[in-house]
């Protein structure tokens, strides 16, 4: 039992694992490949159930529910044009969720790596900027960062707001990546620490106490990442939609 606790999955791991270094890029690659294999198997299985009118395959049904959930999230936070972001959000959600589940059972997972999370955050934030420029034009998008229109000596405040907004945009990367990293990596550390407490009586305390909470964390973190990305997209694209709707209404009248 002791050997199992030391060498087993992360939820049973001892203090040795706590001091272990982050894996190399090949290790991270292997874990990403592992997550992708899981997703590929699930998707292939789910695809078989798409041919019928009513999805009886439980995996297909789950994917359908996930799709509808993401669709609802995109439409409710971004608007009708938010449907075009569904594939991106689905990919983020699936990668984060499956990565988090892997983190429950293995000593490491892609989402427990800050570099991996920073990569995803950079994609999300850069894409938000790209969509902002597409929707409002480069100047219009930059104008968003200056806050309300001020005149005279108050223009200096606009400059200050612009600087703060740029820092805020950069910090979105940090917050998105650190939040996920902190939750998953911190969850590992918490489980390992509690397991250490129960090692002497051969009871995996971390598993018993924290497994359900960690499971909830897996779900919530995937949700938070995608929802925040939706909110960021909404902030930079909703003006263009409003104007488009106003224009459409004016034309109709």
């Amino acid at each position: 039992m002791d050997a199992f606790l030391i060498n087993g999955p992360s939820i049973f791991a001892s203090a040795d694992a706590m001091s272990a270094k982050e894996p190399s890029i090949w290790g991270l690659g292997a874990y990403i490949a592992f997550v992708l294999v899981i997703l590929l198997v699930l998707m292939s299985y789910a695809k078989k159930g798409l041919s019928v009118r009513v999805f009886k395959n439980p995996v297909t049904s789950l994917f359908e529910q996930l799709y509808l959930f993401i669709e609802n999230m995109c439409v409710s936070s971004i608007g009708q044009h938010g449907r075009k972001y569904i594939p991106m959000m689905m990919v983020f959600w699936l990668m984060i969720f499956v990565g988090n589940i892997v983190a429950l059972l293995f000593p490491f997972a892609p989402t427990a790596d800050l570099s991996f999370n920073l990569g995803m955050a950079l994609i999300a934030v850069c894409y938000v900027q790209y969509e902002g420029v597409r929707a409002n034009g480069l100047l219009g998008h930059l104008k968003h960062f200056t806050g309300p229109k001020l005149s005279g000596a108050m223009v200096a405040i606009s400059g200050l707001i612009f600087t703060i907004e740029i820092i805020s945009e950069l910090m979105k990367n940090v917050s998105l990546s650190l939040r996920l990293y902190g939750n998953i990596h911190g969850g590992h550390l918490a489980v390992e620490a509690m397991n250490q407490l129960g090692n002497k009586i051969y009871v995996p305390l971390g598993v018993l106490v924290l497994l359900l909470i960690k499971l909830l964390t897996c779900l919530v973190q995937a949700l938070i990442f995608t929802m925040l990305t939706c909110v960021y997209l909404s902030l930079v694209t909703h003006h263009s939609e409003d104007h488009a709707e106003e224009g459409h209404t004016a034309t109709a009248h």
Partner: protein, 206 residues
């Protein structure tokens, strides 16, 4: 896939190439490049590797179009097809319901029309029968009156005739009685005329 769901990003081939380049470049950077600031972060407990980050960006650039074309497009298509089928079914059911409602309305209207017509016919028949009855009653009354009048006339005639006969008999009897009393034939034309004149003055009780 509907227009609203079409991605606004770069073409998939470009994403694949860019992803591959970033993966290779990131891997190379992770293995060979050391940045002092990042090393310091690592020492402080933040295990950051920008090479990995670049490689991960590359992986995601490949993943987005790959997962989309492999699974999300078929899934979206299946959901939309099913939704359209359901919409069609509901629309068809709604049309059938409207048609049924229309048929029912027509049927009810026709039924009401038929009922009204039947009621009109019945009323007409009743009116006709009442007219006929009235006519028959009138005819019967007229006929009865005629019969009564004829009977009264006949009675009157019979009465007159009977009175005349009685008068003749009374004259005969009177003459016979007078003849017996007097003992001689008094049956002369003058006597007969006197008796008749007398009889005319006498009122016979009817």
């Amino acid at each position: 896939m509907s227009n609203s769901q079409k991605s606004s990003g770069a073409p998939p081939a470009l994403l694949y190439v860019a992803g591959l380049v970033l993966m290779v470049g990131g891997t190379y950077a992770s293995l060979n490049l050391k940045i002092e600031a990042i090393e310091k972060l690592n020492e402080q407990g933040l295990p950051l590797d920008l090479g990995k980050t670049v490689a991960v960006i590359g992986v995601f650039l490949i993943l987005f179009p790959a997962i989309k074309s492999f699974f999300l497009n078929p899934l979206t298509e299946a959901i939309e097809t099913r939704n359209h089928q359901l919409e069609d079914t509901f629309s068809e059911a709604e049309n059938l319901r409207a048609e049924m409602h229309k048929l029912r309305t027509d049927y009810e209207a026709r039924l009401a029309e038929t009922e009204a017509e039947a009621r009109f016919q019945i009323q007409n028949q009743i009116k006709e029968a009442q007219n006929l009855r009235q006519q028959l009653m009138t005819e019967a009354a007229e006929r009865a009156d005629a019969l009564v009048r004829q009977a009264q006339m006949e009675i009157e005639q019979e009465k007159t005739q009977a009175i005349a006969t009685i008068r003749t008999h009374v004259v005969d009897l009177t003459l016979a009685a007078a003849e017996k009393v007097i003992g001689e034939n008094m049956d002369t034309d003058k006597n007969r005329r006197l008796i008749a004149e007398f009889m005319d003055t006498v009122e016979v009780a009817s």
